[in-house]
Symmetry: C2
Subunit: 64 residues, 2 copies
DNA sequence: ACAAAAAGTAAAAAATACTTGACATTTTGT
DNA sequence: ACAAAATGTCAAGTATTTTTTACTTTTTGT
């Protein structure tokens, strides 16, 4: 399923997918796929994304 | 680096590495390697571990 | 309306998470 | 002390993430 919290947090910082990709050291397609919910990133990448967006793991990646 | 919070949370539930592996659907070696800090698991596996141990992502996997 | 930037998507290759099997060492219980 | 259970570790193979390249569609600004 889509990760709208991530999309929203990225928008709040006014970052493009490319900018967030550069900040976290991955490709734009990877960011796109994570937002789209296609597959599960590694915790290392999740942490990098959280730090780039000033969010916690629970805020962006927790699911019930 | 070692993930002692994970090791501690597992001990609090009195689970062996094998038991936690069974609960989360991975091999014992994978749990062992994560505790040892050898590599980065996927967020999906992190979530499964958190749920098995009644912990949040931030409690077990956040790093500063 | 138009151009430029951003986002969506796909296939093949590369990198790495995870498994399986096997054995050594440490810990636990009696 | 002894046996059983738990943990640590390694190597080779499999599964999945991530990259690269490329193209299409949507959004944004003038």
């Amino acid at each position: 399923m889509k990760n709208l919290r991530l999309k929203s947090a990225r928008a709040a910082k006014d970052y493009s997918q490319q900018q967030l990709a550069d900040l976290t050291g991955v490709s734009r397609q990877t960011i796109n796929a994570i937002e789209k919910g296609d597959y599960n990133p590694t915790i290392k990448l999740c942490l990098a994304i959280c730090k780039a967006l000033d969010k916690t793991l629970d805020e962006l990646f927790w699911e019930d």
